[in-house]
Symmetry: C2
Subunit: 150 residues, 2 copies
């Protein structure tokens, strides 16, 4: 448990080192871009597991989700990104910034589920992908339910 | 050359099959999200090759770029996405849709450069990453110069 939390915090802080200074409004823009692009790819996987299955498409989509999840998005929640900056709105709740241990754990769960989804997608096994996809979606929802406003 | 073009068109059309129907305004939103998230990761790699080098951060960033590049973004240039849809603006030029063979070639070049960048980043060799990073940036610019309005 301790190790899981430590890994989560590491994942969240990874991109902080040696990173170009990114303005708060751009941090919000980039994190929203990451979630938006993952949503498109989740939608593609959903369509595949519910219909005709294209293993190559699912694998490419899962790779994108896993790589975005593993890219150190925690660095995009820096100071000044807890509320709208000019026209750049955010749905993140203040509680997010007050519970970084819990957020770190949720981030670790998400990273692990996304990495597993990519691994399973590489096998082309539709049923296994459906299971891993559901598990990944659950880790998204766990964070949204707690830390994202409607 | 013929093969390169065919591969490019394949890459552009890959995500079209079995995909959920995505509205034109959402296609524009998702493709902009992909480019935006890649830009953040390109910025991180740039900061690393110009300063203190964090191999793990560069590898994660390069993986994100390569996976997004390989996710079949061609499907996000469907009918009705050649100009603004409501509030959703786009900088794509009409010429993009009139030169799909050339676009396919540029997309193939970009995918190959991004995949190579990820491969090189895994070695942790800063000088080699700098070269591969420059080559990737050049393939971005090649398309922007021709098909993106200022």
């Amino acid at each position: 448990m301790k190790k899981t939390i430590a890994l989560g915090i590491l994942a969240l802080s990874l991109a902080g080192t040696a990173s170009a200074q990114v303005k708060p409004e751009d941090q919000i823009k980039y994190r929203q871009a990451g979630y938006s692009f993952m949503a498109w790819n989740m939608g593609k996987i959903k369509a595949n597991v519910e219909g005709e299955y294209n293993a190559q498409q699912v694998q490419a989509a899962a790779n994108a989700i896993a790589a975005i999840a593993g890219s150190g998005m925690g660095a995009l929640y820096g100071p000044g990104t807890d509320k709208a900056v000019g026209d750049r709105k955010t749905r993140v709740k203040p509680e997010f910034f007050q519970n970084m241990e819990d957020v770190g754990k949720l981030a670790t769960d998400f990273n692990a589920a996304a990495a597993n989804l990519a691994k399973v997608a590489a096998t082309g096994d539709k049923a296994a992908v459906q299971k891993a996809f559901g598990e990944t979606g659950a880790t998204c929802k766990a964070c949204h339910d707690k830390y994202r406003a409607d």
